[in-house]
Symmetry: C2
Subunit: 112 residues, 2 copies
Amino acid sequence: MTIDPQVAAVLKDPAALIPAIVQDASSNEVLMLAYMNAESLSLTLSTGKATFWSRSRNELWVKGATSGHFQEVHSVTLDCDADALLIKVTQTGVACHTGERTCFHNPLEFGN
Amino acid sequence: MTIDPQVAAVLKDPAALIPAIVQDASSNEVLMLAYMNAESLSLTLSTGKATFWSRSRNELWVKGATSGHFQEVHSVTLDCDADALLIKVTQTGVACHTGERTCFHNPLEFGN
């Protein structure tokens, strides 16, 4: 396991799993939310391919490794209290395993 | 504590705290990430003001109640596995307690 020294230095808790928002770099559409640990963040920064920690499989998860729907990373931004990430990407294919473009496709009834 | 029946029905785990991405409804800029439980989500849907659960203060948190920087909600969308939310808002003032427009203002060095 190789951790980027930058990553170890900036995260609020380098041992924690933190939410990473994935946003389309050109349309600004929010595509999905997944989780990163220090290792997956380091790999994302060094490879330029969005890499997460799968909470269900308990393993590193290069987005697209199975589906071919890779996410080419344009930028990675940490929030003010260093416990959330914003990843801007170019999405190959679709982000959601259901075949939808974005994982956020279930609107809740609002304002009734 | 009043829970919207819709909320109880749709969440993967109605007892869990889940991440809520806040996005500017007109610019599509991602402003912040905070957490909601079933009660704060129900209040967000019924009041139209973004309401979170503060993990540090362990209490309901109407965004802007102290700062005046309220978030008027336009839409609330649940993701495919019902454990993350996307909230589109009109932001009064700024989203970040540091005075920045967005909480995501610390770019990481990338692609070296």
